[in-house]
Symmetry: C2
Subunit: 111 residues, 2 copies
């Protein structure tokens, strides 16, 4: 059994090179990551045919786009990118950002 309890306040590990993803849990049903973004780091806009994604800002701020909507989200705010809708995220602030990111089903694991 994988670890089932996690503390998102201590999970973050940042990379100077690019957005860093810390996986907390994954199955074919979903993955749950902490995305760690230094100022200026981003996830380019893309979409998934069969998967919903949630971006939930934990600390800092992050600009998130879903379709034609682009918003600056503060800690506690979240965005949902339904399957087929183009989405992306960019830390346009001067502070580090962490986000809880959940995607279902997992795009890379089969049941």
């Amino acid at each position: 059994m994988p670890e089932l309890f996690h503390d998102t306040t201590t999970a973050a590990v940042f990379s100077a090179a690019k957005l860093n993803k810390i996986n907390l849990y994954e199955s074919h049903r979903l993955f749950c990551d902490v995305y760690c973004l230094e100022p200026g780091q981003s996830q380019s806009e893309h979409s998934h045919t069969e998967n919903d994604k949630i971006y939930h800002v934990l600390t800092g701020r992050c600009e998130v786009s879903v379709g034609d909507d682009r918003r600056d989200l503060n800690a506690g705010e979240l965005a949902v990118a339904p399957a087929g809708v183009v989405h992306g995220a960019r830390n346009v602030s001067s502070e580090r950002t962490t986000m809880l990111v959940i995607m279902a089903p997992h795009p890379g694991m089969k049941g």
Copy 2:
């Protein structure tokens, strides 16, 4: 298109009668709720054959059980209940608790 941006810091609505669930988004792939628990309120232990659940404490504290493991989670901590594993939650504190709860796939919607 449903609303895709939400603020979990203002979404909570509590009920004196029982745990209150505020749905933020749902599809057959997942649901995303804010669970609002007054002191003493709980979700009884149960399991889902085919669905993973995440309990993520947003504010306050909550006792969460997954299988034989029972822990008191503070804001920022989360628990994963994989499909088939008995789980439940109880606000044993004297403060209100809010949790982001995500389940995938949605147990009540078919694709």
